[in-house]
Symmetry: C2
Subunit: 344 residues, 2 copies
């Protein structure tokens, strides 16, 4: 059996209605809701077909129908195609310029959660391919050296190093010059062992410090790559009864608190690049187990070349996909603009 035009119209009507109400929708409703001028009985026949084909299902024998994951998938796919053509007149999200990356990200998730009424997450941009801009060692006290590492996009990391014996100010200065001349402009992938050996040799008796700094650089650039995830609007899940029962709510909240559970989502999204960078995961499609009763919409954002991060919106399956996708696209643009300004 195939999905003819009329079946499509009916399926869409069912889904639209369910997105609004969250209640199973019956044949009579559709009969009135659409302008097909068909009786409820005819609709019932079509619905039986749609159910057989797996697009909708009945919670129990004498209830209306709700969309299945397959149904949502159909809806999202065709909706996306149609909307692609439309102009995007979405109003701006109120983003203020932030000097620190962390604050920017926190602000983004928060604004996004407020705008969509869903739970949101954002991962800090992937800095692996990011280039080192600047290293600064400073003597803090007799036993500690502070390494400040700035990479492109003005991402700043600190690391406090223990030193065995006190270094003179001149030594610190020399090390600074040594490190900067060798490392500036390189990404973490560019730094190889030969280079490190070379630097260590030049550092002479202070070669151990060089080693520590290199480690710190690696650490700073890479380490919490998967931990820097911010979330907001967690308690929005209570707006949707289908997610608000204790079992589910508890699991979801746990996932949002233990942020490393969200890394799966980030990785998945960065891998599966399609044109727009926006992806929709419905129910079991999501890579995070605890979200199998949710839908997840993700977007990759880019701050200059190589600095990619992931934004995610998590809500019930009857999410307003349309609005969410538009909002995310809008956000992508704004972040892009923000970056260019930053750079000017």
């Amino acid at each position: 059996m195939e999905l003819d035009v009329r079946k499509r119209i009916i399926l869409k009507a069912i889904i639209r209605n369910y997105l609004e109400t969250g209640e199973p929708v019956g044949s009579r409703t559709i009969s009135k809701y659409t302008d097909l001028n068909l009786s409820s009985a005819t609709i019932r026949n079509e619905m039986a077909d749609l159910e057989e084909m797996g697009y909708i299902l009945q919670p129990h024998t004498s209830a209306g129908r709700i969309p299945s994951d397959k149904g949502y998938r159909f809806y999202v796919d065709t909706m996306m195609e149609e909307k692609e053509r439309e102009a995007d007149e979405m109003k701006e999200l109120l983003l203020q310029r932030q000097d620190k990356m962390e604050n920017l990200l926190k602000q983004v998730v928060k604004v996004l959660a407020q705008n969509t009424q869903y739970a949101t997450m954002i991962s800090a941009p992937n800095t692996r391919r990011n280039k080192l801009k600047f290293i600064q060692l400073s003597k803090v006290d007799a036993a500690h050296i502070l390494a400040v590492i700035v990479s492109e996009g003005n991402v700043i990391k600190n690391s406090l190093l223990d030193v065995q014996q006190e270094l003179s100010e001149e030594t610190v200065l020399k090390l600074n010059i040594l490190l900067n001349t060798h490392l500036n402009g390189l990404s973490i992938e560019d730094i190889n062992l030969a280079m490190i050996a070379d630097m260590k040799q030049q550092a002479g008796i202070h070669s151990d410090i060089v080693g520590e700094v290199i480690d710190a650089v690696a650490e700073a650039i890479k380490a919490d790559e998967d931990l820097e995830i911010y979330t907001s609007g967690t308690n929005n899940i209570f707006r949707y009864p289908e997610l608000a029962d204790q079992q589910r709510a508890s699991e979801l909240i746990n996932t949002f608190e233990e942020k490393q559970q969200l890394t799966g989502l980030v990785q998945e999204t960065l891998l599966e690049e399609n044109g727009t960078g926006i992806q929709v995961y419905i129910g079991n499609e999501t890579p995070v187990q605890s979200m199998k009763d949710c839908s997840v919409v993700t977007a990759t954002y880019e701050l200059g070349e190589g600095m990619k991060g992931t934004i995610g919106i998590i809500g019930p399956k009857r999410m307003d996909y349309d609005k969410v996708v538009r909002t995310l696209r809008n956000l992508q643009n704004q972040l892009d603009v923000l970056y260019r300004e930053e750079d000017k």
Copy 2:
């Protein structure tokens, strides 16, 4: 009427039992539970008295009794006294040394939440009275200067400053010296306007930068004082039916997400210093509105003189006060030890 010995025993038995079960406790239970060898009827008489005195209450006419806030208060106060004498044989919480304050705090709340099965929070140590150890300005690129501010306890803050016109390396060096000679060893309260004016004058045409740096220092040391709060174990509230209904859960989770709602708790705790630094807020006693159905146990911790922070444990009123207080005391010690090691 006074609280004679027998009434105390009965009251404690009621509370103990309620802490375990979370159900109203009846006279027959107490009659068996205690070794007073009294019949349920006698217990009933005593319970009637206790209710009249306000220590316990009946959810409805034919139910058992549950402790009132006043009852909990009595229990906590006397329990504390008794336990004060006991040796503390609590097992160590598994804290690993962390180089960054942020990581340490995150670890502490997490371990604490896992150990107690309640929701936990910690505020970063108050840095207001903290002394400036070291300031480092570095030229990042033509338009940006990076200010790194290190204060006692090796708390590091960064701030990226825009500059109108490019500064030479020498100028940056001069400014560094100027700032460090003037400001090192001072706390934020020590920095006055005269001093700032003096520095600005010495900086000549670069006085605006000095102003910006001072602002950054103030900002860095003070600003997110009330924002640096970490939480963990939020979803533990679902373990306790009396907190797990949607209304309450949603509010609590929101409070934990919007961390500035927790500042009230931090301030309150730092003010009301008693001997041990441990405080118990029962029900309405808590300064945070959304926790009026919870009990909150807070502890101040200290990392060296002046660096005080607050730890909080939030759970149902029938919290295991005994264990919580012991755990917190234990943690206070461990943090103290950790700090001394750090400092060595």
